[in-house]
Symmetry: C2
Subunit: 205 residues, 2 copies
DNA sequence: GTTAGCATGTAAGGAGTTACATGATTTT
DNA sequence: AAAATCATGTAACTCCTTACATGCTAAC
């Protein structure tokens, strides 16, 4: 009863919601967008697309050019796929600020309701605050037992969390600023991405 | 024929090389040391310990206190386990600067030869340089097609890579400084962790 | 006396990787 | 004509997670 992830499926839904594409291009775009340390493999992508076809979220459009040519398949969203993606965009609960899923929500924020956006950013920030607190307490208790390198590894880990937190704080501030300056914005899912998320005013931790 | 990872096994070897421990404590220490976003589960740890037992790397020492009590198992390294860990410490090739494995090498740098340490840090830095270059090129080509949030996600990803690079640069500088100031150091696997890796002189990118 | 933390495990399954296998098209 | 890049897929496998199951021990 896991109901884990489906991150890849949501990412694909998000890309195809912009434009129909074939597998090869989906992979390139996904790698560029998320910058994973290891590029997504075809061994993950194609089985995923197959599963999505079976669920009826996407349809394939085979370019049977001559007749003997190798298939070139363009995938596009079905109405069910669009509905599933809309559901994803509306999800502003704890699962959205999970480590695994936060990225796939953020990536499509331009098509996300402003209120949901803010909820997710704040939730993510709270999650990291909790983590930092736990790690900091732990570190203080066991500090003298660890060698310099182990300590440095833990320190860098903490610093990374702190940096993500200050990044989120900046984003939250600019979200708040924007929503207060423009009279009502809440329901406009279609408003195009705002003029750069003004990361000039640094809310350094 | 994958020969992937075994990160967890190496981490366990590293901990048990310091002192015998039981599973529950291994888990706590590992979580503290690596600060994974999700804590390591028992469902990973115990089967891993079982496999290591079968390979003969560790032995179990059941504290059969009274006779009816639940087993409390203390694991310790066998000579074969020690040999396997020594092999891990000596590994200074590309696999050591891999995303998956770098951490488990760094964590035990205090017991690693200084020359290997430097090789790994430099290899890791080169790896990240390549990645950054690829991402930066990609970003420039496709920038105008992406919305502000997608762009921000990519920017933050790049910045994170740059930060790890400058961290590595600082560590490399302090390694070099140390090895030049102390007359010969190369073979001393036993020299205890140096007095903090002096991260004051910031070689900011 | 009950909650929190210590302690050990198994079964089922998810999500992805590597390695293999094939072929078309574009660039050099 | 060779090399790079575009393009699609499968089989076997690895690593890890979730959910379940059990019981002890210290503190409040």
């Amino acid at each position: 009863m896991a109901r884990r992830s489906g991150v890849l499926e949501m990412a694909v839904l998000g890309l195809l919601n912009e434009a129909p594409m074939h597998g090869y291009e989906i992979r390139k775009r996904l790698n560029a967008l998320f910058g994973w340390s290891r590029a997504l493999s075809y061994g993950s992508l194609y089985p995923c697309l197959k599963a999505m076809l079976q669920k009826g979220w996407i349809s394939e459009d085979t370019t049977a050019a001559g007749s003997r040519r190798r298939a070139k398949i363009v995938y596009r969203l079905t109405p069910e796929g669009e509905a599933r993606f809309a559901e994803h965009l509306a999800e502003g609960g704890p699962s959205a600020w999970d480590d695994d899923r936060f990225g796939v929500h953020f990536a499509f924020f331009a098509r996300t309701d402003a209120a949901v956006r803010l909820r997710i950013l704040e939730g993510r920030l709270r999650r990291l605050e909790e983590r930092l607190e736990r790690v900091r307490a732990q570190l203080e208790r066991t500090q003298e037992r660890r060698d310099a390198y182990a300590l440095e590894l833990q320190r860098y880990g903490m610093e990374s969390v702190e940096r993500e937190m200050s990044w989120l704080s900046r984003l939250i501030a600019s979200e708040r600023h924007r929503s207060s300056s423009s009279t009502s914005n809440t329901t406009s899912t279609q408003r195009r991405g705002p003029g750069t998320p003004t990361h000039d005013n640094g809310v350094a931790t």
